[in-house]
Subunit: 200 residues, 2 copies
Amino acid sequence: MTIQESGTARPAGRPRSEKAEKAIIEATLDLIGDGMGVSELSIEAIASKAGVGKTTIYRRWSSKEDLIVDALSTLKAPLPPLTGVSVRDDLISLLDAMRKEAGNRRNRCVMNIAMNEADRYPRLMERFMKRAVEPRKEALRSVIERGIATGELRADLGVDMCVAVLSGAMLWHTKWGPAGDLPSDLAERVVDAALEGLAP
Amino acid sequence: MTIQESGTARPAGRPRSEKAEKAIIEATLDLIGDGMGVSELSIEAIASKAGVGKTTIYRRWSSKEDLIVDALSTLKAPLPPLTGVSVRDDLISLLDAMRKEAGNRRNRCVMNIAMNEADRYPRLMERFMKRAVEPRKEALRSVIERGIATGELRADLGVDMCVAVLSGAMLWHTKWGPAGDLPSDLAERVVDAALEGLAP
């Protein structure tokens, strides 16, 4: 996240500055979550909701798009540490990060709305995907490739099918599962169901 | 689909009338697919795109919402016939219906956009879900319940988890899979991967 333009001295203001930044990010996400589309979203509305002046926003972000990419990226948790020992354990860690992100109702709603704007704002979404989504997908693919190499996963299915079954089952729960928080053991149950299969 | 108000005599006009209806439905879907939200969508715009007069639309649908529910419902194929013999075969039939629906790029795009409007138009989406989505979900659940009863599926996973793995893997392919048509054997491959599991 680019926080300040290089060369702008800002002595002793950091704590307040960070608080403002957080308020601006939260205001942006709240407004998107309330159903405000990217086109309707304005720096004015964000400033007003965050309780800051417009210049405070422009000091940090040169455009609305930059701010939205930053705001959306905060919804994605950082990649969890992977032990690299058992493929099952690493898959659970990765899927559990998906569960945690989707656990917050507003965040889930914002992410749905944002993904839906992908067709209208391809450049914005591409930047978001590249920064926040692709690294996660890549991590999952590489754990699966490792599993195929070690024989922990079947080699005949292909990586895409493994990703589809694992991520898809998580995706289904966030989109269509029973309302309320996702159960804390969901990732483990999904991974075990996927690895062992639905047939006895 | 409610086509005409009861009591309105319409002699010999049926073929032209059906053609107009199809044009109106297609125009509605095209406009949604072009990114027009439910609020922006107007009877005027639909009439103009369909090449019909507004009264032709109002003769069939009493509101924009009714028309949208009908239009979205045409995107869902009717339930496929199920043989009731092997659970594997019936699961493939149900998942293959999902593949066929999602095969059309515009339809996929429209469905994504529509689902995204669910928060803004809960009543509209509820009607659509009830008419076009719930029967499909119920059919899948009942095949899974049958499979658990006959021992073709594990009893310890629960119905939701089986639905999540099967539907989720299809959902993933329609949303994140490689661009282009979904492969014709996708449903069969998903069902076999899900039943047998990713582990050797």
